[in-house]
Amino acid sequence: MKAIKILFLSACLLCGPAIARAQFIDEAKNALTKGDRSTWSGLRFSYDRSILKSTAEESELKQGFNGFTLAYVQSWSIANRLPLFVEAGGGLSFSRHSFDSSADGVTLKTSHNLLGLYVPANVVYKIAINDKIALKPYTGIYLRLGLLGKEKYEAGVEGNTSSDSYSVYGEDGCDWKRFQLGWQIGVTADYQRYNFGIGYGIDFNKLAPEARFGTFSLRAGLNF
């Protein structure tokens, strides 16, 4: 929730002056409805920092995943007078968590690797600062479909180790959910053909028993 609040405040801070400026410049001509309704499509690459957090009361148990998403997005204008768009797309996302512990020669290594399809659908408001720069606050939902998910561990002392590797989807005792639906919010900025942004998303449903995903993203992309 803290991250959501920070993102929301950041979006407000970024958008506030931009709106004021746009209104000042094009007040008479209603600039927000002129020249800002051009659609876009493009590739988006994001660094994702996901936290799988226990939903148990007072629990501080959390596991941090690092990953990336590569997606194609397409936009459609949905209002005649406002620069309002729907942006949807699809892509692949990969995330990995690893944990190493070593104490007195005893080691424990665990890892999770997740590969999935990522399908976002956002409502975007485009605010043109000038001919080259535009801000695009957005919010929407996403669907993530887990294609592959593997958990591995190895523990032991000096060659006397135990290890195992298994899918987190479907195997007995590993009933992680393949389908994840979530809500996301963020803001991106276009500079010429380039796009940069930040965002945060949180799953509606639990990914693993007693655990839910939240993801902070840093994005960069290219518009066609």
Partner: protein, 368 residues
């Protein structure tokens, strides 16, 4: 202007990247170095998985020789080779084990207070030994609902011996405690347990480091004193730290026990400079090969006072007892006694550190 703008954009992009890199640090440190891994357990494993040849139904202890001079410490029930529940005398607690998913609920209820600790999200390895779990403890009385939460991470070697245990405990008052225990095994026998932990002290709220060790030695003759699957060698405290109730050991949830009964056992608290040294004087076996009793003498140096040399201690094991599984009735009788005496026991806790102190205090109380 274009050049400046472009430069600005790339500076911003570099800034985003720089912001991303620190966030790659290990988030797990925020949960005290613990992690959740393994498969969610649906039920307790057969005790045979942990090499327990004879499911123990009663553990008794006394400071004078003879079963008649001992008193019940723990009682366990089984069905089809799997533990179904139990009772711990120290705090008059009922242990309930439920399946799908596996949860272990330990409760104590009096007219003053209700205390419940529930182990859940229990994940296990292919042998059914716990790799991680979470525990919630509630103390509910007329005034408040006090709560503690603890996460555990454990690891085992290829022979099924517990070699690592980490925990992270927090409570609603801001107290926290992190601990790591390493277990050193040699030829199937546990030779050293080392437990270090840090915590916020209740009073001065500064980090305090503690250390507790156990060292065991064994007879060179590996056929002497074979262990058929018990964990209590010298008194009502099982070997290892006090993170988990002893029921977890006898349920086969924490790996295999030692191959042999130790010849000597030294327990040492560095912080208090207390130690016990036990020497095994004999192990008696039943006709079927199960352990009937373990006898020892011990020397104690204690900051609690009352140093002693050559005192005796005796542990007795019983198998196949048909305990009345109506634990509520059983407990009710015991609690009536407790209330008649006007005794209100102190708050139980998940804190292994506090449990260790409680165990020490209990020992001293028994000796007086």
């Amino acid at each position: 202007m274009d050049f400046k703008l472009k430069k600005c954009v790339f500076v911003c992009a570099a800034g985003l990247l720089a912001a991303a890199l620190p966030s790659c640090s290990n988030e797990d440190e925020e949960s005290g170095g613990t992690i959740s891994y393994g498969k969610l357990a649906s039920e307790v494993p057969p005790v045979a998985n942990a090499g327990i040849q004879f499911p123990v139904t009663g553990i008794y202890h006394g400071y004078s020789s003879g079963f008649g001079n001992s008193s019940l410490g723990q009682a366990y029930t089984y069905r089809d080779g799997r533990m179904t529940g139990g009772y711990e005398r120290l705090n008059d607690e009922v242990i309930e084990i439920t399946s799908n998913p596996l949860t272990v609920r330990i409760s104590r209820k009096t007219s003053y207070v209700e205390e419940v600790e529930e182990y859940k999200n229990i994940k296990v390895n292919s042998d059914g030994f716990i790799t991680s779990c979470e525990c919630e403890y509630h103390e509910i009385d007329e005034d408040e609902d006090y709560m503690e939460h603890c996460t555990y991470t454990l690891a085992y070697d290829s022979e099924g011996h517990r070699i690592l245990e980490k925990y992270h405990l927090t409570d609603v008052d801001g107290y926290w405690e992190n601990g790591t225990t390493t277990y050193t095994w040699e030829d199937g026998n546990l030779i050293k347990t080392e437990w270090v932990w840090e915590s916020i002290d209740d009073e001065d709220e500064e980090g305090v480091d503690w250390r507790y060790t156990e060292e065991m030695t064994y007879d060179e003759d590996e056929t002497r004193y074979p262990n058929t699957g018990v964990w209590h060698f010298y008194d009502l405290g099982a070997v290892g730290n006090d993170s988990f109730y002893d029921a977890f050991l006898y349920a086969g949830l924490l790996g295999r026990s030692t191959k042999n009964i130790p010849l000597t056992f030294k327990e040492n608290q560095y912080f208090d400079e207390d130690y016990y040294v036990y020497t095994t004087t004999g192990v008696n076996y039943n006709q079927d090969g199960s352990i009937e009793s373990i006898h020892s003498i011990y020397d104690r140096t204690s900051s609690w006072g009352g140093n002693s040399t050559g005192a005796s201690s005796h542990v007795y094991f019983r198998y196949g007892q048909e305990w009345d599984e109506d634990w509520t009735s059983f407990m009710s009788q015991r609690l009536t006694k407790s209330l008649d005496n006007g005794v209100r026991k102190p708050r139980k806790t998940l804190s292994p550190r506090k449990r260790l102190q409680e165990r020490m205090a209990q020992r001293m109380a028994n000796l007086k």
